[in-house]
C-alpha cells in the first residue's frame, strides 16, 4: 500500500490547516470503509490522512427548531438509532440502513458516502429529496452547497483541495410529509445499486393532493440526479396512479444510465420507472401516517 502520514487533530482549525498546507495531497479519513480499499487499489495515493473522527464539529447530531444538523463523520448506525431523526427524515434512515451492512454502518458515515461521490451511492438521493445543504469549511471560511449540486462527476465533487465537508443541514419537515429511499440490486446482498430512487412528498390537509414533491435518482447518471421535472410535475396535483405514473415517466426521461456489468442502460431505465412508482407510494403512505407494509423489500 502507498505510504502516507496520519494525523488525528482534535480541533477543526488544525485540521483545516493541514489541508491548506498540503496542496491536495491530504485526504480525509472518516469511517475509512471505502478509502482504505481505494488506497490499497492504488486509486488514491495521499501523503497525509487526516482522521476527522475526533473533531466535535463533525460529530454533531441534533434536531433543533431550525431542523437537523448532521456532522459529516457521524456513523450511519448512530443515525438510525436516533429516534428524533427517524421520525422526520425517513429517507435518510432508509439510506443509512442500506449502506454497507451492519459491520460497515458502525463506521461508515453519510458525509463519507457523499464525499466519495460514487454515482450509485445510497445517501445522496435521500439528501437531495430532503433538501439538504452541505456545509463546507476551509481555512478561509465556510460555504453551503445544496446536496444536488455537490457531486460533479464519478468520484468528483465541489470540494476544493483545502476544503472539508463538515456538516449536512436539513430544514425542519413540514407537516404531512413523508420520504423514502429504495435501491434495486439483482440480489439481496449486493452492495452497489443498479438504480436507487429517493422521494419526499408533502401532502395537503386532505392527504389527497401534493403540495410539494422531490424525486432523486442514483446510479443512472455520472452523479446522483435531482429529477426536477418529475418532481415539479406533482406540485398541486391530486395523488393518483396517473400523476404518479407521469412522474415516473419523467424520472425515466431524466435518467442517463450506462451499460455495465450490473445492468444495461435499457434495464436501468425500466427499473427507474418501477422504483419511482414504488418509492412515491411509500413516501405518500408515510406522509399519511399509514402503517408500513411488512414487505418493503425489492
Amino acid at each position: 500500500m502507498h505510504d502516507f502520514d496520519y494525523e488525528a487533530p482534535v480541533d477543526l482549525d488544525t485540521a483545516l490547516r493541514f489541508f491548506a498546507e498540503r496542496n491536495g495531497s491530504a485526504r480525509v479519513l472518516a469511517g475509512g470503509t471505502d478509502l482504505i480499499d481505494q488506497i490499497r487499489l492504488g486509486r488514491y495515493a495521499p501523503d497525509l490522512l487526516v482522521d476527522i473522527k475526533k473533531l466535535p464539529e463533525l460529530n454533531v447530531l441534533e434536531c433543533q427548531e431550525g431542523g437537523l444538523r448532521l456532522g459529516a463523520a457521524v456513523p450511519c448506525s448512530e443515525i438510525y438509532r436516533n429516534e428524533t431523526v427517524v421520525s422526520g427524515y425517513e429517507a435518510l434512515v432508509d439510506s443509512c440502513r442500506i449502506i454497507g451492512g451492519i459491520q460497515v454502518q458502525n463506521r461508515a458515515s453519510v458525509g463519507g458516502n457523499l464525499c466519495n461521490s460514487g454515482p450509485a451511492a445510497d445517501s445522496p438521493p435521500s439528501l437531495i429529496v430532503l433538501g439538504a445543504r452541505c456545509v463546507i469549511a476551509s481555512a478561509q471560511g465556510q460555504r453551503e452547497v445544496p446536496a444536488e449540486e455537490f457531486c460533479t462527476g464519478p468520484g468528483e465533487n465541489v470540494l476544493q483541495q483545502d476544503e472539508v465537508l463538515i456538516e449536512i443541514r436539513f430544514s425542519s419537515r413540514p407537516p404531512r410529509s413523508g420520504s423514502h429511499y429504495r435501491r434495486f440490486t439483482p440480489r439481496n446482498e449486493m452492495d452497489i445499486a443498479v438504480v436507487g430512487v429517493g422521494a419526499s412528498v408533502t401532502l395537503d390537509e386532505t392527504g389527497e393532493r401534493f403540495v410539494d414533491a422531490r424525486i432523486a435518482l442514483g446510479a443512472v447518471a455520472p452523479t446522483p440526479l435531482f429529477a426536477r421535472e418529475a418532481s415539479e410535475s406533482l406540485t398541486g396535483q391530486p395523488v393518483n396512479d396517473e400523476t404518479i405514473a407521469r412522474a415516473a415517466e419523467l424520472a425515466q426521461q431524466a435518467a442517463r444510465p450506462i451499460d455495465d456489468m450490473r445492468g444495461t442502460k435499457e434495464f436501468r431505465i425500466h427499473v427507474t420507472g418501477v422504483l419511482t412508482r414504488r418509492v412515491l407510494a411509500a413516501a405518500i403512505g408515510r406522509a399519511r401516517g399509514e402503517e408500513e407494509g411488512t414487505r418493503i423489500g425489492h
Partner: protein, 950 residues
C-alpha cells in the same frame, strides 16, 4: 514502509493488552494476523464483502480488513481464539477441552456447520455479535445478520441451524452437551467432522497462515491486456529495490518451460506472447510483501497489443488470429451417438430446437491460492500448497518445470479453504519453489482476491444448440446437439491420446461431456457433437459438476416445452423417459447398478403434488407483481472418471492406533472423517482408536486425485479393503499369540480378544511390538482396479423441485422451497452428506441466477454472484434414495457434485411456470427475465430461431 511514521498502538486483544507499532496504512486484520499471530481471523476478500475477518471490537462486529489498526487504539477486541474465554468470563484460555467451548462453537460442531472451515471464524464472530444483542433471534434475523458473510461450501443451512441451536443453549444456560467428536459410531452415524474442532477454534492452518523464519514473500506481475506480443521484459530496476532478493522471468525456469501434458502449452511465464488478462509474466521475492509489490511496479514490460477474441463467436470467426501459431482456434469435432437421428426426427410428432448459453464461471473458493516452498533438513524440496492431485500435478508436474525428479519433491496440503476444481493449477507452487531453490530461503506466495479472480483458471463458457423430438405419447425419439466448449487459452482436446487416461487425466474431456448429452433419459436416436474453442479468456479447468451441469438447461427446458405442447404433466414425461436399470445410454454403456432416477422421481412425487396444490392457492391470492411458480428438473453426473489403479493403506502405529493412509486431500468435503468411519466400521472399534494421514505425498504415498467424485467410492473402497486386510493380519497374528483360532477373535478399542473366555486378549500396541520384533510391517494395502465401461464408471442421479416467485416488474426471483432427491447408495455420515447437498444446491442456485465472469470487467466476489444466506430457498428438504452400489464401500456412492444439478433446470422451468418467460442464457438475472417477459429475446445479442413444431 516508512518506519518514522509508525505509531504506537495499544490494544486489548482477547483480554490481554498488546502493544504494537503499526503504520497508519496497516489494517487491523494484518495486525491481528501478522503482528499478533492470531491467524484464526481470515483474509478472503480484503475489501469488506465476505465477513471472514470479522472480530468483535467493543462487542460490535467489525470487519478488520476495512479498519486501520490505529483506529482500534485502546479498544477491546475479541477474535475467534479468545471467544470461548470471553464467554467463560474468567482468565480461562480456549483449549481443546470441549467443555471450554463457546455455545456457538459447540453448535457448529454438533450441527455439522463446518466444511472447509475458512469462513467459519467470521461466521461465528458475526453470530456472536448477534447473540450478544439478542439471545432469542428468529431464523429470519439470523439469515439477515449473516447475509454479509459469504461461504462457498455449506449452502448456509447448517450454519443457520447452528446459530439457532446456540441461542437455545445460551438461553437454557444448562450444562452444555458434549459434542460428538470421537464417539464410537461408524458408517451411518452423523459424527462431527474430525477436523472441525480446529476450525471452530481458529487453529486450523491454511496456506496463508503458514510461516517460516526468515521467509521471503513473492508476488506475480500479471498482464492487464487480453492479448499482446511481448517485446521485452526489463526487471533491472525492480532488482535494485532494497529488500528484493530474487526475480523470475521465463528465462529462470530450469526445466520444461510449460506445464507438462498440456497442449497448447501453458507456460510458467510466457516468453513472447500474452494470451489472457491476468496471465503471470514475472515474479519477485522480497523480504516483505510491500517491498515485493513496490518492486513489481518497476518491472518494465514492452508489448504490442493484439486483437483479442473473448467471446466464442469471435474466436470461431475464421478471420480471427490463431492463439497459437500453426494451430487452429477450433478443435476437431468429437461426435457420439446412436440410432439414426434423421429417422428419429421423422418419427417425432413434436420437435423443439433452440440455443442456450452458459457463461464463464469462477470457483470462488473462500481461501485464495497460496504456496510455501522450502528445503527440509534432508534436502527435499517441500511445498505446502493446496492441490487436488498432489502427485501428478504436484510432485510430477512441478519436478518437470524444476528440472528435478519427482522423488525430490514433497507436497503437503495444508487445510484447504475450498476447491470445487480450482486447485489444479501448479503455477504458483512452481514460482514459490523456484524462489526457494534460487535463494535457499523459504518463500511464500499468497494471491490477493482481486488477483485470484482475475488470474485463476475458470469453468468454460458453453454454447449449446439442442433439438429434441418426441412422439405424441411423450416418448423422446431423437436428440441432436452441438456443444461449443470455451476452453480459454487451454484446450484439453490436444492432450495426446496416450496420456489421456490413467494418471494424467486431470481433465475431463469432450467425450465425458458428450456422454451426458441426453440427460438421464432413454433416447434411441442421438447425435451429439462438441468442439473446443480457444479464446483470450482465462484458462479452463473443471468446476463442481463439470460436464454435467451445462446441458440440463437445454434438455430439461425442452422436456417441459414438449410436455406443454402435448398437455402432459412435466413430471410424467420424465417418468416415462427416465433411464432405468438395464438401459443402454447413447454411447452404448449398459447401466446395471444403482440406477436410481425412477426411485428418486417416486420419492419426489408426493412433494410435487403438494407443491402444485399450494401453487393453485398462491395463484389465487398472489399480490400484484410477485407471481408464483413451480419447476422441476433432473440431472445426472458421472462418478469416478478415472481409469486407473487406486490404492490406500492401513497399519498399526507403535502406540496402538489403527492408522489409515490415503492420497486424497481434505478440501472441506470430509474424507478425513469419512475414511476413518469406514475403517472403524471394518474393525468395529470407535473412531478414537483411529488415526488418519492424507494429503502428503511422502507420508501417504498413494497417488490418487481428489476430483470427479471418486473419493468415497474409490478411495473409500480402497481404505475398506486395506482395513479388511489389516484386520486379517492382526487376527492371524493374535491367533498365534493367544493360541485361538482366528475366526473366534474379535476387536475392541484396546485390541483383539477371544470371543469365548474374554480374559484372553492382546492389545494393539502389543501386536505392533510383536510384528516389529518379527521384522514385519503391519502396513496393509487395498487396491482397486477401475477399468469399467469407458468413459464413465457410473452415474449419480438428481431430481428436484423449486417453488418460487418472480417479480414481473423487476424480474427478481425469490426462492421459497426446494426439494432435492439424490442417491448416495449408502449414507456414511448423514450429517456430512446433507452438508454436501446443501452446498451443491447453493452452487446450482448461483449458476441459475447470478454467477457470471467476464475478464473485461473482473468482478468482486459479490458482483460475481456467490450466493449469500438471503439467496437460498426459505426451506430445503433433502430426500435420499439408497440403492447400494456393490463396488462402493458399504454400498456408498460419491455425492459431491450431482446434487447441485437439479436446481438449475428446476429454477429455469419454475420461472417459466410463474411468468411464461423462458430463459435460454444463464444466469437468469432480473434483467434477462424482465426482457424475456417483454419478449425481447434479442436483447442479449443472441438471435433465437426458436422452432416448435407440432
Amino acid at each position: 514502509m516508512n518506519a518514522s511514521t509508525n505509531e504506537h498502538i495499544s490494544l486489548v486483544v482477547n483480554g490481554e493488552t498488546r502493544e504494537i507499532r503499526a503504520h497508519p496504512s496497516q489494517t487491523l486484520l494484518d495486525t491481528i494476523r501478522e503482528d499478533l499471530d492470531l491467524t484464526g481471523t481470515k483474509k478472503a476478500c480484503d475489501n469488506g464483502e465476505c465477513g471472514s475477518c470479522i472480530v468483535l471490537m467493543g462487542n460490535k462486529p467489525t470487519k478488520a480488513c476495512l479498519l486501520s489498526a490505529n483506529r482500534a487504539q485502546g479498544k477491546e477486541i475479541v477474535t475467534i481464539e479468545g471467544l470461548a474465554a470471553s464467554h467463560m468470563g474468567s482468565g480461562e484460555k480456549n483449549s481443546d477441552d470441549l467443555s471450554a467451548l463457546h455455545p456457538l462453537q459447540i453448535a457448529f460442531l454438533e450441527k455439522g456447520a463446518t466444511q472447509c472451515g475458512f469462513c467459519i471464524p467470521g461466521m461465528i464472530m458475526r453470530a456472536n455479535a448477534l447473540l450478544i444483542s439478542n439471545n432469542n433471534p428468529t431464523r429470519e434475523e439470523v439469515i439477515k445478520s449473516l447475509s454479509n458473510n459469504l461461504c462457498r461450501c455449506t449452502g448456509y443451512v447448517k450454519i443457520i441451524d447452528a446459530v439457532m441451536y446456540a441461542s437455545e443453549l445460551l438461553r437454557a444456560n444448562e450444562p452444555k452437551p458434549t459434542p460428538m467428536v470421537s464417539v464410537g459410531k461408524k458408517v451411518g452415524a452423523s459424527v462431527a467432522r474430525l477436523d472441525s474442532l480446529d476450525t471452530i477454534n481458529g487453529k486450523a492452518k491454511y496456506g496463508a497462515d503458514l510461516k517460516k523464519d526468515g521467509m521471503l514473500h513473492a508476488k506475480i506481475l500479471r498482464s492487464d491486456v487480453h492479448h499482446a506480443r511481448i517485446d521485452s521484459i526489463d526487471t533491472s530496476e525492480a532488482e535494485a529495490v532494497p529488500g528484493v532478493e530474487a526475480v523470475l522471468t521465463a528465462d529462470d525456469v530450469p526445466g520444461t518451460p510449460y506445464l507438462p501434458n498440456c497442449q497448447p502449452q501453458v507456460f510458467v511465464f510466457p516468453r513472447d506472447r500474452i494470451r489472457f488478462r491476468g496471465e503471470g509474466l514475472a515474479a519477485i521475492a522480497a523480504r516483505t510483501e510491500e517491498i515485493a509489490e513496490e518492486a513489481l511496479a518497476k518491472i518494465k514490460v514492452v508489448y504490442e497489443e493484439l486483437p483479442s477474441a473473448i467471446e466464442l463467436d469471435d474466436a470461431i470467426d475464421p478471420r480471427s488470429e490463431p492463439l497459437f501459431a500453426g494451430m487452429p482456434n477450433i478443435s476437431p469435432i468429437e461426435e457420439t451417438g446412436c440410432g439414426q437421428v434423421e429417422v428419429g426426427f421423422a418419427e417425432a410428432d413434436v420437435i423443439v430446437e433452440n440455443t442456450y448459453s452458459v457463461p464463464v464461471r469462477e470457483h470462488a473458493a473462500m481461501e485464495t491460492e497460496s504456496a510455501l516452498a522450502y528445503q527440509d533438513e534432508n534436502g527435499t524440496l517441500v511445498i505446502e500448497t493446496a492441490l487436488y492431485h498432489p502427485f501428478v500435478q504436484g510432485t510430477r508436474s512441478i519436478a518437470n518445470n524444476m528440472g528435478m525428479n519427482a522423488a525430490e519433491i514433497r507436497i503437503i496440503c495444508p487445510a484447504m479453504g475450498g476447491n470445487f476444481g480450482s486447485r489444479g493449477d501448479t503455477l504458483i507452487a512452481v514460482v514459490a519453489a523456484l524462489f526457494a531453490q534460487k535463494t535457499g530461503k523459504a518463500t511464500k506466495i499468497v494471491l490477493s482476491r482481486a488477483e485470484s479472480l482475475l488470474g485463476s483458471s475458470k469453468a468454460p463458457s458453453v454454447n449449446i444448440r439442442y433439438k429434441t423430438g418426441a412422439t405424441r405419447e411423450g416418448r423422446i425419439v431423437a436428440v441432436d446437439t452441438e456443444v461449443i466448449h470455451g476452453a480459454g487459452t487451454w484446450a484439453p482436446y490436444l492432450i495426446p491420446e496416450t496420456t489421456k487416461g490413467a494418471e494424467l487425466c486431470y481433465f475431463e474431456t469432450l467425450d465425458a461431456l458428450l456422454s451426458h448429452a441426453t440427460g438421464p433419459y432413454e433416447v434411441p436416436n442421438v447425435r451429439a457433437r462438441a468442439y473446443d474453442v480457444l479464446t483470450n479468456g482465462p484458462r479452463y479447468v473443471p468446476l463442481r459438476g463439470t460436464n454435467a451441469n451445462y446441458l440440463p438447461l437445454a434438455y430439461e427446458s425442452q422436456l417441459d416445452q414438449i410436455a406443454e405442447k402435448l398437455g402432459m404433466d412435466p413430471f410424467e414425461i420424465r417418468t416415462l423417459n427416465a433411464i432405468r436399470k438395464g438401459s443402454k445410454t447413447h454411447i452404448g454403456q449398459v447401466l446395471r447398478e444403482s440406477v436410481s432416477l425412477l426411485a428418486e422421481l417416486e420419492a419426489l412425487r408426493p412433494h410435487y403434488e403438494k407443491a402444485k396444490t399450494r401453487l393453485e392457492k398462491r395463484r389465487a391470492k398472489a399480490d400484484g407483481s410477485w407471481k408464483p411458480g413451480v419447476g422441476i428438473g433432473c440431472g445426472w453426473r458421472n462418478i469416478g472418471y478415472v481409469k486407473t489403479t487406486i490404492s490406500a493403506g492401513a497399519e498399526l502405529t507403535d502406540d496402538g492406533f489403527i492408522h489409515v493412509l490415503a492420497g486424497s486431500v481434505e478440501q472441506g468435503q470430509g474424507p478425513t472423517t469419512q475414511l476413518v468411519q469406514i475403517a472403524a466400521d471394518v474393525f468395529g472399534v470407535s473412531m478414537s482408536t483411529m488415526r488418519v494421514t492424507i494429503g502428503d505425498t511422502s507420508a501417504a504415498p498413494y497417488p490418487v486425485p481428489t476430483f470427479s467424485s471418486i473419493t468415497t467410492v474409490a478411495t473409500g473402497k480402497a481404505i475398506q479393503t486395506a482395513a479388511v486386510n489389516l484386520a486379517k493380519l492382526l487376527k492371524g497374528t493374535a491367533a498365534q499369540l493367544l493360541e485361538e483360532p482366528p475366526d473366534s477373535l474379535q476387536f475392541n478399542d484396546q485390541g483383539v480378544f477371544a470371543q469365548e473366555g474374554a480374559t484372553s486378549s492382546v492389545s494393539f500396541a502389543e501386536l505392533s511390538a510383536y510384528l516389529h520384533d518379527q521384522g514385519k510391517s503391519s502396513r496393509c494395502e487395498g487396491v482397486i482396479e477401475w477399468d469399467g465401461e469407458a468413459p464413465n464408471i457410473l452415474f449419480g442421479y438428481n431430481t428436484g423441485l423449486i417453488e418460487l416467485e418472480v417479480n414481473v416488474e423487476s424480474g427478481r426471483v425469490r426462492l421459497l422451497n426446494h426439494v432435492n432427491v439424490c442417491d448416495p447408495g449408502t449414507r456414511i455420515n448423514p450429517l456430512a452428506l446433507e452438508g454436501q447437498v446443501d452446498g451443491g444446491i447453493a452452487f446450482g442456485i448461483g449458476f441459475a441466477l447470478s454467477e457470471c465472469f467476464h475478464p473485461d470487467n473482473p468482478p468482486t466476489l459479490k458482483d460475481y454472484g456467490v450466493s449469500a444466506t438471503t439467496d437460498i430457498p426459505e426451506t430445503i428438504t433433502q430426500l435420499f434414495v439408497e440403492e447400494p452400489l456393490e463396488r462402493g464401500p458399504f454400498g456408498a456412492k460419491s455425492m459431491a457434485e450431482h446434487p447441485g444439478i437439479s436446481p438449475i433446470p428446476a429454477i429455469i422451468n419454475g420461472i417459466y411456470n410463474a411468468t411464461g418467460a423462458r430463459i435460454y442464457d444463464i444466469p437468469a438475472t432480473p434483467e434477462r427475465i424482465k426482457f424475456a417477459l417483454l419478449n425481447n429475446r434479442n436483447h442479449s445479442n443472441k438471435v433465437r430461431g426458436e422452432k416448435i413444431t407440432l
